[in-house]
Point group: C2
Chain length 344, copies 2
Amino acid sequence: MSKGAPKLSDVARMAGVSPATASRALSTPAQVRPETRAKVDDAARLLGYVPHGAARALASQRSRTIGAVIPTLDNAIFANSVNALQRSLAESGYTLLLGSHGYDPAVELEVTRALIERGVDGIVFVGTDHDPQLYRMLATFRIPYVLTWSLDPSGHHPCIGFNNREAAMQVTRFLLDLGHRNFAVISGLTAHNDRARDRVAGVRDALRARGLDLTPQAVIERPYSFASGQEGMRELLKRALRPSAVVCINDVLAVGAIIECRAEGLDIPRDVSITGFDDMEIAAQLAPGLTTMRLPTVDLGRSAAAYLLDRLAGREVAPSTELPVQLVVRGSTAPPRSRSAGRK
Amino acid sequence: MSKGAPKLSDVARMAGVSPATASRALSTPAQVRPETRAKVDDAARLLGYVPHGAARALASQRSRTIGAVIPTLDNAIFANSVNALQRSLAESGYTLLLGSHGYDPAVELEVTRALIERGVDGIVFVGTDHDPQLYRMLATFRIPYVLTWSLDPSGHHPCIGFNNREAAMQVTRFLLDLGHRNFAVISGLTAHNDRARDRVAGVRDALRARGLDLTPQAVIERPYSFASGQEGMRELLKRALRPSAVVCINDVLAVGAIIECRAEGLDIPRDVSITGFDDMEIAAQLAPGLTTMRLPTVDLGRSAAAYLLDRLAGREVAPSTELPVQLVVRGSTAPPRSRSAGRK
DNA sequence: AGCAAGGATGAAAGCGCTCTCAAAATCTAG
DNA sequence: CTAGATTTTGAGAGCGCTTTCATCCTTGCT
């Protein structure tokens, strides 16, 4: 007889119990006699009862909702881990609220405010570069959060991610060991992007450790896109001294670089070695395959979900988790052509 | 002095007005004297007030939240339009709740239920293939929704999308006009995926219109991935009668197909013409460029947002919007090599 | 100056649920 | 069989905000 969506009191009435008991039967079944529980469940099913989330959130002070604040979904790699995050959350009855900011700290702050307003129980961020005001807001509202993709050097913030600097050093050392001495880097925009900065720094440090310099001109910075990778490579190829090894800060850029080399008739890896970061699907399919650092992005999403869920459940959590990365060597790298033989 | 997050009553007290007025000053500024409004605004700013979304939703019966139910974010093309959707919504003060189902109708139903429980004011779905129970749920809870990517032939549901069948026919006709007579199709899984089905049907219809048949063996069905495109192409190349034109149902598959051809030393487009669907960024960067149907995915996201927002605001909305698609001809297509010259 | 009309404000009743607290029902054991 | 312990249930008070309705100020006119 009731108009509109059935409410808890409708279920209770139909089951012949009080709203309080109906609530318990639905939310904490263990606290209710099986017999009563069955009556309530039946009534709920019969009426097609769906709890009113806002009312529930207001009364219980938790929304069963988690926010994710990411730079953009355009990057397949973020999309990938957000996908994993959402699925993990859904398995535990949580829903994902999404906010993207396009690498703009002001927008990020605003988006975060919006999520807090929606009453998210926790938030997943990308990277460590954030407006101090953002951290203040998080503290004021006591929102559990976790930074992902990077590790926080200060140790002030919980995080789950990779050691981007070390990973980049590893790639660089691999190239150095192959005999390369002439490096260039194609990077994403480093402003508000600690991942990119750390990776570039890693290359620089690894080179310095072997007495080599990475000059500012050797680093090309461009927005993430295939076209940027191509442009970057084109610029490098115009130079008098062409690099023999090009470290790209992610796979999108690297694939762009490969495409450009191919268009210019260069032989990869003989004329130039190229490396990426991420290990997107296409990296393996290309010919030659792209040598790249594999980042466990699905794990990342899952771990972030697990962290927050554990924290909300009052379980013990590690303040910081480093996820392992792995260098995947494929056909895009080889010793440089004109290697000065025997020079130790 | 107050502990925890400041609430509306705190703002009201500080501004020296009643909670009712504070509420109006914040939500419907026009209804309040500028002078009073300023006092409230100042107090709110000073206290760092953030409205409590659940309370607001409970009292006002709207959550300023929109849900999106998509197959997966792994597909860059969905990620793309979800990104646009989210941004459009954010501009209007709405937040996006995300649910993905991996092409499983049961999961989709469950995810939708979760979104309704969260009190979304509207939902964006992908495609027209949905459990009847889903539509029933939508009706019961009177949730505005819109189907995207496809057009609903029955006209029962509001939708914003493309005429996938017609678009596929257009691609096919283009290939036919080039002189191709020997076709194959590489498709995504068609179960619960009307887009894929419509496109395959479009190819079949266009061929039939010219007296040609698309045999079941000529259609290869695989999950979406670069690897699938490669596998599909590999299988086609093994055949005695190799197709001269391969219509791929999306760009991911098409790129995979191109990669495989290249690996096999085939010349595209001389030995085989390949077409895609979507016009992802990489389609243009590849050499040869991929001939493909460009779908305005960003527009799609924006239009879906606009539709729902208009509807919620009580504005007039078109029950169905067809977005224009465009055939982008690049280097992956050409007349077949062994064209029977002059045969009309 | 006096009064109607309209605009701004305040009081208070919920929105639908959870959860504390107390009462009732059930169980345990002497 | 009954006192006491324990489990199950119900009553009712909010959670923080919006929104009707009534009240109080302003204005504009006569």
